[in-house]
């Protein structure tokens, strides 16, 4: 195995993986930024997005339509996945989290409720969709011959589409958060909820919107991952979720640019690590990054200093 030869390929793949991690990480970071809670069930939202995408793709393929081209099929997969994921996130917030943080419960409550939601969703999907994995027939959509030469690497069109879609969405979110009134209200609520309310912001609505956006992006990540890895199962949210969470923490949790950066870095690091070491330990890379970050720089790369003894 000539490492140098596959390196460019691994880098591009790492980039694609990174943008997807970033997409999912945004869900964690946005919710954390506004509620200071870890939405443990976000990985399941991502997983459900993947299932919705699969459902759409399979339906389209089974309908034996001619002229199936990714340029319209992919959006048609993405939209319902994102909508469903977004709404699911809103429901979660409304029923499993809001009663807890409205009460001013300690951090333990929402986290455990989130874990409960995660387990519940995993099993709900398993029971309704079957324990066996589902397969994305990606090759019917993206013929394997569609490859592009990028910097000495032969890269499949799919990977480029992943990067493109994820990148586009992140850029869209960035614009929304930085340039629109809604975005400003989200940032205001994240920074000082009470003041935002005094400015007239409907805080509950902003929180719901934040959940919607973060979850929708997670759902999109699910579709992309489904397209690339082709195999999805009800348990995929767990490890993907932890990795995306790592990415969010690495970049500085609560920081949107941080999530994107963290995702990219983690994707690249993981992809490179797999090149050089036993792939079985691939997940350990992510955990190691997480633990190292939390121990040595808990605020992440782009985060601000956290006040010592801050009440959780």
């Amino acid at each position: 195995m000539d490492v140098l030869q596959i390196l460019p390929q691994q880098l591009v793949f790492g980039l694609a993986l990174g943008t997807v991690y970033g997409l999912i990480a945004l869900g964690y970071t946005m919710v954390y930024g506004i509620l200071f809670m870890i939405n443990f069930a976000h990985g399941e939202i991502f997983m459900i997005g993947a299932y919705v995408g699969w459902w759409v793709l399979t339906a389209l393929l089974n309908a034996k339509l001619t002229g199936l081209h990714p340029v319209w099929v992919v959006p048609v997969m993405l939209v319902p996945a994102m909508l469903f994921a977004g709404l699911l996130g809103v429901c979660l917030e409304r029923f499993a989290y809001r009663p807890l943080y409205l009460r001013g419960a300690t951090r333990l409550g929402p986290l455990i409720s989130a874990i409960g939601a995660s387990i519940f969703l995993q099993n709900a999907v398993m029971l309704t969709q079957g324990a066996r994995m589902k397969v994305y027939m990606t090759s019917l959509l993206f013929p394997r011959t569609w490859r592009v030469q990028v910097a000495g690497a032969s890269v499949s069109a799919l990977v480029l589409v992943m990067i493109g879609v994820a990148g586009l969405m992140m850029w869209g979110l960035h614009l929304l958060v930085q340039r629109t009134t809604l975005g400003r209200s989200i940032r205001a609520v994240a920074e000082d909820r009470e003041m935002a309310a005094i400015m007239g912001v409907n805080v509950r609505r902003v929180i719901a919107v934040t959940f919607f956006l973060g979850s929708a992006l997670g759902g999109a990540g699910g579709v992309l991952v489904g397209l690339y890895y082709t195999q999805i199962d009800f348990f995929m949210g767990y490890s993907a979720g932890l990795k995306a969470f790592t990415a969010a923490v690495l970049g500085g949790i609560g920081n949107i640019r941080g999530a994107m950066l963290g995702g990219l870095i983690l994707g690249l690091v993981e992809s490179l690590a797999v090149t050089f070491m036993n792939p079985a330990y691939k997940d350990v890379v992510a955990f190691a990054v997480l633990i190292l970050t939390l121990v040595f720089k808990p605020t992440g790369l782009l985060g601000e200093t956290v006040a010592e003894g801050e009440k959780v």
Partner: protein
């Protein structure tokens, strides 16, 4: 314009406001004085709906507001310049001001532009720094930003919670001059202050709050005159 009648507010089991009755009439500057732990900030929070009163009524322009959520109250034309400024440090000056105008999203852009102009006219330093992050401003500039942000809502009633706190005396004078200007421009003001002298200097009437109760109410002049007697009284908690 604003009327509080026998307002009682609790923090958990503690009764912070025992009975607060006060009134602010259109066009006035009224000040609410008191030492620490007298309940001044709680009064502000109660008016704004951040805290719900346990008893009593609060009326603004003859309509009860004590059961409403903050965002509704604010939309009726009340704005707050909070204690310790509390500007959004992670947003730019411009964005802070823009957030101030949140309740007026339906307003035509020309009107909003006018409001920006007005704020910049009052606080030229803010215009200079409009792309700067709020967190990088000095204490005095943050105070200006806090006031400007509140003005962006075109409030009919402006609530100010301890505007002099943490500011050098020269700045305090400047701030209170500006409050007078704002008042002359048509905004009614309720100022909560520990610094009785400077507050009474611009107000027409004053209330003194002690241990959650209004203990004194008079014209500013009368209060000032009695001040050298009251100073010890007001100075102690």
């Amino acid at each position: 314009m604003l009327k509080l009648t026998d307002v009682v507010t609790h923090y958990g089991p503690i009764r912070v406001l025992k009975s607060v009755t006060l009134e602010v009439r259109v066009g006035e500057i009224v000040c609410l004085l008191g030492g620490n732990a007298s309940g001044k900030s709680t009064t502000m929070k109660t008016i704004l709906g951040v805290v719900r009163p346990t008893a009593g009524r609060i009326e603004f322009e003859s309509q009860r507001i004590d059961r409403l959520p903050s965002e509704s109250i604010v939309r009726r034309g009340i704005a707050l310049v909070p204690e310790a400024r509390r500007i959004f440090g992670r947003m730019t000056v411009w964005e802070n001001l823009s957030m101030g105008a949140f309740t007026r999203q339906a307003a035509p852009p020309a009107e909003l532009a006018q409001d920006f102009e007005r704020v910049y006219a009052l606080f030229p330093r803010l215009e200079e720094r409009r792309q700067q992050l709020g967190g990088t401003l000095s204490g005095g500039e943050q105070q200006m930003l806090a006031i400007g942000r509140a003005l962006m809502a075109r409030p009919r009633l402006l609530l100010m919670d301890e505007p002099s706190m943490g500011l050098a005396p020269a700045l305090v004078d400047q701030v209170f001059d500006i409050i007078q200007t704002i008042n002359r421009q048509g905004t009614t003001v309720l100022v909560v202050e520990q610094n009785a002298a400077v507050a009474l200097g611009i107000a027409s009437r004053g209330y003194v709050l002690q241990n959650g109760r209004i203990v004194l109410h008079d014209t500013a002049a009368a209060l000032l005159a009695a001040d050298h007697i009251r100073r010890a009284y007001l100075g102690e908690d």
